[in-house]
């Protein structure tokens, strides 16, 4: 699914106050991933938004082995359009930085920190996943 990522609301206000340009929102191909405990964004998206990290977190993936990696965390806003308005809009959410999403066809993993507020209905015979929020 497509989603839109931009700087967080607080950062946008700070940029406006400082008279600095606000980076253009980025359209990302996102994968809903119940196997991800946190939402992740590809580094290229974060570079395009020109945002500095405001935190770090520990992350374990199939590539890290048993020792978690320390990764940067960024505050962003995420808008996920729905079939009917209003869209799901998170004005300030922490996301972890990762790589290699694009080769798999997506730039973002929408993790359980967001999906925890949604209801899923998977209709296998119709190959249809409905997400409500």
């Amino acid at each position: 699914m497509d989603a839109f990522v931009s700087v967080s609301h607080a950062r946008q206000t700070a940029l406006q106050t400082a008279g600095q340009p606000i980076p253009k929102p980025q359209t990302v191909r996102a994968l809903l991933d119940t196997g991800a405990s946190v939402t992740c964004l590809d580094s290229t998206i974060l570079t395009n938004l020109n945002i500095p990290p405001t935190g770090t977190t520990l992350m374990n993936t199939p590539t890290t082995g048993s020792t978690p990696a320390t990764v940067n965390v960024y505050d962003v806003s995420i808008l996920i359009p729905g079939a009917t308005p209003p869209p799901l809009f998170l004005h300030t959410i922490a996301v972890a930085e990762s790589q290699l999403f694009q080769s798999q066809g997506f730039h973002a993993l929408i993790g359980r920190d967001i999906l925890g507020a949604c209801v899923f209905h998977y209709n296998g015979p119709l190959n249809l996943l409905t997400v409500s929020y």
Binding site: A18, G35, P53, L58, N60, T70, V71, D75, T92, L100
Partner: protein
Amino acid sequence: MALEKELETYKQKLPELLAEEGKFVLIQDSEVVGIYTSYEDAIKEGYSKFGPNKPFLVKRIQSMDQVHFISRFVEPCHTFQSR
């Protein structure tokens, strides 16, 4: 490395911060600026006080840092600290 000083301050101050475990601390350089009940509030205060260009750290206060799990084959972007 980004936020190196702030992470060091967090480590030093953690024993006293644990009285507020679960909340979010805002740190700039070696100063604990405040403790907030939500991530959004801490981020908002950080940008309000320091603007868009000065680094600050927002971190949930925890005796042991939470480890996030990603089951998909992705590569974490290691910070300098964890390389």
